[in-house]
Amino acid sequence: MAPAEPAIDLGNLEFSWPGKPLLLSIERFTVAAGERIFLRGPSGSGKSTLLGLIGGVLVPQHGSIRVLGTDLTRLAASDRDRFRGEHIGFIFQMFNLIPYLSVLENVLLPARFSPARALRLGGPDLAAEGGRLLAALGLGAEQYLHRPVTELSIGQQQRVAAARALLGRPAVVVADEPTSALDHDARENFLALLINECRAQSSALVFVSHDTSLAPLFDRSVSLAELNRATSVAA
């Protein structure tokens, strides 16, 4: 793929849940490679649905979803799953981690399902790369690696989730209100680390939040309400 290829490119997208009115109608939404986008919108505005579409879990009724030039709507379901595992990292609002795995195992989880993502790391072995990411996100101390994730604070858990999303240098990182459960200082801290690491790996970042005070930290800020032409949205 050419480096100039946009990370995400949605065109004439229409989506509605079965039997429900039109939820999303987006003429065009593009995220350039390595670009960091702040996507704001109140809850219920279809944010999670949009992320599901980008992740290839949902399929729109109309339009195209190009991620790194690949139109997800033309892929079979299992290929979309593989594509997601290979190229997209997700961070959710909270409870991101598998409770019965250690910190390091949680970070290395994508490598289990996507050999391509593990291979992309090339030189360093997986555990070392996991440790590097955790260190970059402020969880470098050896003591964290093999701890049960349930012993971590919420802020630490979110950083583990960020390390997992970044593992294997995915082209796109999607974060769905990852800071809403954090207090102010932890929020700034987390965001700085996340943006730093995305820049270092040149991963595009789609950061969804309703907290507009964070917007200045990003390359661009987009309002979903303005983007979405569907009128039925109770925004």
């Binding site: 879990v57 379901a77 299992s78 959710f92 409870f95 991101n96 409770p99 994508p110």
Partner: protein, 420 residues
Amino acid sequence: MPTLSLALRSIWNRRATALLTIFAIAVSVTLLLGVQKLRVAAKDGFANTVSGVDLIVGARSGPLNLLLYSVFRVGDATANVSWDSYQKIARHPDVAWTIPISLGDSHRGFRVMGTTLDYFRHYHFAGSRELRFAAGKPFEDLYDAVLGADVAEQLRYRLGDPIVIAHGIGNVSFANHDDKPFRVVGILARTGTPVDRTVHVSLEAITAIHIDWQSGAQAMPGQRVTAEAARSRELQPDSITAFMVGMQSKVMTFTMQRAINEYRLEPMLAIIPGVALSQLWSLVGIADTALMIVAAFVVLAGLLGMVTAILTSLQERRREMAILRSVGARPRHVFALMIIESVALALAGVLLGVCLTYGALYLGQPLLQSRFGIFVAIGGLNAYDFAILGSIIAAAFLMGVLPAWRAYRNTLSDGLTLRI
């Protein structure tokens, strides 16, 4: 397989519930295997009740009736075999030996059997095991008695103890042969067969205690014969209840059987013990089939419990599934995760169940042997056992499809939405 270790870690994370589930399956497997082992042991033990005997001959009746009273000491003979007919067969050149049996009396609920010393020589059980004496020796004197192991143990008899034989076979008898008491001279080692519940005396002794009896009642006082006086009388019986035959050559067995059954001077019946035993087992064996069915249903209940536990856990694991989806897991991975969980739990249950079974067998073997006369061989698992265990795992797999399918459907509808 990215899911195998995940599934196992997930089970470990819920180990309290998992352990209970495994234990429930293990107990049911133990029951099933135990019943299976016991029924094999019971069947073998049954078939081993008598061996080395080629024919059993009695007055003409049904084969099962003859088998029951001659070997199992259950029921009564309808008629006797005359001494002449017995002698005729016993002296036949093809016949190697015979064991005459005279039944009809009892001692405190245990049957008394009159026989000869050939009984201790030729009677075998469980393949080629001979009758052994735990104490004492065979009867010599007219009023000597040899006890089976159960008789001696339950009635606490020792060598030299006097015993009185009752007329008839009721548990409580009002007509006793108390004028001619016997003395215990031998106690047989345990056999696990009806021999253990038998009091053995000589054929002549049976004649002696009935010498002054007519029509089921003893003669008037004054016409009675004392124990000592009886010794000098003619004690050869007119008839016996039945007799066992050992042939010179096994191939002659059928010929002899037919000859006896067609004997014109006296209606007699000859049976081959092995054939009659398997006929009898086909009647008795229904009970253990029923037991086996019950055990199978207990296993089914154990597996249903497992599926219930997994289904209950699904709701709280939806988040976990969404996380796995977000890192590239396909719905079929989720399906596999749940199936692996079912099979792993069942496998652990089966393994634990096998261990419990063998533990129970080691502990219970002496007890079963001594109390019930059932010898349970602690061998390895046979092909049938493996088939049983394999079908339990297969059943777990099939039943695991239900929660797996539910999780699969949840995963498709949840997508990346973290439902809490």
